[in-house]
Subunit: 567 residues, 2 copies
């Protein structure tokens, strides 16, 4: 490695500054330059919704280190010894002569910057749907600090006005809460039949949908935006879908992002099947002197081993470190990602990783699934809140393929255990013996994820036949004949119940003495509030010689359809 | 397996009922009996401090399932088909004839109960220190619901009165908070120089000590109780230590528990080196028809592979399941425990797993340690709170030996990742690539535990020499000559600083231009608030040719000694 190696980083948000900083720490002699087309560097892009909501007062806070040091041009130069060329646009990269041809946006001057190693950290761009009206005043996207400042200034003035959010993904959900905090009236329009697109199975997304309703926010699912309409001064006034028209003083479009690959294409670097820049495990592109990381680069899915596009600030930071290592002679390799994501909507948290049940089925996996609804800490504490864990497990390898967790309680902690388990290469059953941290304010004695792993083990071993709520609903919709056996107490039944002629109430404590009410030739599907008693009932009836008994995963709590609720 | 196998469980709190219930689920034909000397079954012993505090109103709540079903004798009999013999004392077990000789405490009648398989789940008993006065009125222990009811009745009447807690372990800490919530005036006396005994290293325990002080609770460390004094009516009036006397209207003794092994000893079962009942991985005792689990049984330490005594409700439940499996013909094996523990004291949470630095040193491990103090979520959110992660890593295998986490923020989530990593059998460096769930309300973009793993990797690779705060303090106490270089801003320095003549302030941004103030021949130890800038300074100076530079782990935040704080 030459002692005065010239490293150039294109892109100054997450991966780029991370790589540049670590290179200088590992090799203080390296000459490191960051080229950024905007003004700002190293800001927390994921924090933009919290700046819009007003929770973060100044955008400077998004650029600070945890101890409050603002990472501006001065900081990078003075503290880190990194040269910053912001307001600078790269026009062309001459790979043969290893030279970058750029232009200063402010002065118009041309700059030539030679490199030994080049890092592309050029990020992603928001997708613009191919409809009329996306360029009207009041139609916004959210990717840069500038975008957020524009929205916040407008939304300050728009208090009480109407906003339409197009797209119910992670950004759409976070901005819904931000707009609500700013006192706006919001409608969310999502093309698919659930929020977060393919990231959630329907019975998990259901609980997020309920939270929109609980906060009085219309969520229009399976509705396609046809057109954004403006007035004669070019200001947005409404959004037309295939089902109606919604008045709008402001529109936010959040229908996903795509990798920035224009420059890489011009340089004739290889583009992967996902449309992002192709890199190897060392994050090297098809040119061995050029690395790519963050939102512009492809990842490997840790579960399937296949390429995936999963732009995420946390991954971008990991990429920065890996690239720096490799440039400084350390053979660091990315192990890929699981597609983990988490967000909150008011009082509901939702997290996911790996494959959904649908993704797994589409990929041909033979799976079992688990639904475990239970309080997130000792149930006798008032702070205890529900979380619902869904696991998707490979029946053959017994490995966890994916997890989804939703509810008002602490979903994040259990998600981290699922993610750690996937990374371990072990089976889902291993989780059952993790010595997790137990005390009543933090978890039940058997942590929710341990119970979920135990249920998975039971299912893998064939103890207790069960149906998912979706399967039971399909049986009902097919007019199948079975006893839908509710084993809760009469009081619980009065308060909330599934209304269907198949439903029969026999409290678990009375089941042994009520067998005459249950014909042996009929199929029986038992359930309770969370299907702990439902499982007991299945075991009891099967043990008594009933030939066709199962329980319904997750009980009434996980029934993602209409149900009767008293009062 | 005979179809009407007779299974007898001795002990009805956690492991016993768990095993009994699962046996009935796996083998409904089995005849399962639980013998319990007390009245109550299957209660959450760990919830007792929260019943004392009044957070849990009725002790029945401690006996309920998460859906509110009370697990009383009726429940076990009627719902689970398990026979309960409570108020029943086992006198003798005839292993040869497989028969239990018991006595009904209420009627005085003798009972003979034959068994095919026997499960000992007889728990632990609180230790009674060998001092005078432990039998006075007002001197309490805390292990059973009866203990808790007695304390709560007294403490209700004792509002504003004085309590002395002997023992600063997990129970002592939880009861401190409970007593405070009941309006009592508390003094805590601990024989060792820190709370939680051997479970924490001193620089972590320091932050718990500060929380006692912040809540106005005298914590008397390194103080030995000599005697509990009573008045002439046999009521407690004070506690005498080797350093003073403390008036007391009530005393709680919480100096640990020991396994109940009397019965096992009488049965001539093998007792392990820890003093608990010796079991194999299947939790079988030295008699293959007798199993033992929960607080009476020995565990294997997952890190050292050696026996350890680690009574914990979470482990007891795991044991119950494993024993049930084995009795029903499934070869389930315990993988051991890490000694994980967690508790909260007012606004501080503290968790630990595996080996402390001291334990690891005593066992001869060559370790590196990490101290990472940082906010538990995106620093720009007002909800962000500090957590300090300490990792102890085996320098040779790069495996995590232990973790301790303390602070007002979310320590539990990161502890679960550490525990999962230890269980995975991989190295600490693996954590750096866990695709943990990131969004600003849940974590920084680089989660705290990922940053800690990255620091560990740097240290394992020899990047950046560092000292722990304890090592720096030892250098100071040895009157060593070095520059203790604070690279924070003058404002931060005014607000809080370490006061020592070696301390020299040069803000990081001015370091490059201030090298003339730093003689190359002197040793330099750099630090900042959390040692992010301290590490940068070390890199910068080392890169500039300074031969003897290091940084101090964790910065001012982790300095566990007196420091100047303005105002």
């Amino acid at each position: 490695m030459p002692s005065k190696q010239k490293i150039v980083v294109i892109g100054g948000v997450a991966c780029g500054p991370k790589a540049a900083s670590r290179i200088k720490r590992l090799n203080p002699d390296a000459e490191v330059t960051i080229i950024e087309k905007g003004e700002l560097l190293s800001y927390a892009g994921c924090g933009l919704p919290f700046y819009i909501s007003g929770e973060v007062e100044s955008h400077n806070e998004l650029m600070a280190t945890p101890t409050g040091v603002v990472r501006d041009t001065f900081f990078f130069h003075k503290v880190k010894g990194i040269e910053i060329k912001n307001h600078t646009l790269v026009k062309r990269v001459d790979r043969k002569n290893k030279c970058i041809d750029a232009i200063s946006i402010l002065s118009g001057a041309n700059v030539e910057i030679p490199y030994d190693k080049l890092i592309l950290a050029v990020g992603s761009k928001t997708q613009v749907p191919p409809i009329e009206g996306t360029d009207l005043n009041g139609v916004n996207f959210l990717q840069t600090v500038e975008d957020a400042r524009k929205i916040r200034n407008e939304s300050g003035a728009l208090k009480g006005k109407k906003a339409v959010i197009i797209g119910g993904g992670l950004i759409g959900i976070e901005v819904t809460e931000a707009f609500k905090k700013q006192g706006m009236e919001i409608t969310v329009i999502e093309m698919l039949d659930k929020v977060m697109g393919q990231l959630l199975d329907p019975e998990i997304a259901y609980h997020v949908h309920k939270e929109f309703a609980a906060n009085g926010i219309p969520l229009k699912l399976s509705e396609r935006v046809l057109k954004i309409n403006g007035d004669d001064r070019g200001n947005v006034k409404s959004v037309t879908t295939d089902k109606g028209e919604y008045p709008a003083d402001m529109v936010l479009i959040s229908v996903g992002v795509r990798p920035n690959i224009q420059l890489a294409q011009n340089m004739e670097l290889e583009i992967g099947e996902t449309g992002a820049i192709k890199v190897d495990a060392n994050l090297r592109t098809s040119d061995p002197d050029i690395y790519a990381g963050g939102d512009c680069a492809e990842n490997i899915n840790r579960i399937t081993g296949k390429p995936m596009y999963a732009p995420m600030g946390s991954t971008a930071n990991k990429h920065g470190r890996i690239i720096a290592d490799n440039i400084c002679g350390i053979d660091s390799r990315s192990k890929g990602v699981c597609g983990t994501a988490i967000c909150k909507l008011f009082n509901v948290n939702v997290a996911r990783t790996g494959l959904t049940e649908k993704m797994a089925a589409d990929l041909g996996y033979d799976t079992i699934t688990v639904l475990n609804p239970s309080p997130d800490r000792a149930h006798f504490l008032k702070e205890a809140k529900l979380i619902i864990i869904k696991l998707v497990v490979d029946r053959n390898t017994k490995k966890l393929l994916g997890a989804q967790i939703v509810g008002p309680g602490d979903v994040a902690k259990r998600m981290e255990v699922a993610v750690s388990n996937i990374a371990s290469g072990g089976t889902v059953i291993d989780i059952a013996q993790y010595d997790l941290a137990y005390a009543p304010p933090f978890s039940p004695a058997m942590d929710n994820i341990i119970t979920a792993a135990n249920i998975a083990e039971n299912k893998l071993n064939g103890f207790g036949k069960s149906y998912t709520p979706m399967e039971v609903k399909a049986k009902i919709d097919n007019n199948e004949d079975f006893i839908f056996l509710d084993v809760r107490s009469p009081q619980e039944f009065e308060e909330m119940r599934i209304e269907d002629p198949r439903v029969k109430l026999i409290p678990l404590g009375k089941l042994r003495e009520s067998l005459d009410q249950l014909p042996k030739e009929k199929e029986i599907v038992a359930f309770c509030k969370i299907s702990l008693r439902g499982y007991e009932a299945e075991r009891l009836l099967t043990g008594t010689g009933y030939p066709n008994v199962s329980y319904m995963d997750g009980g009434v709590v996980c029934w993602p359809f209409e149900k009767f609720v008293a009062g």
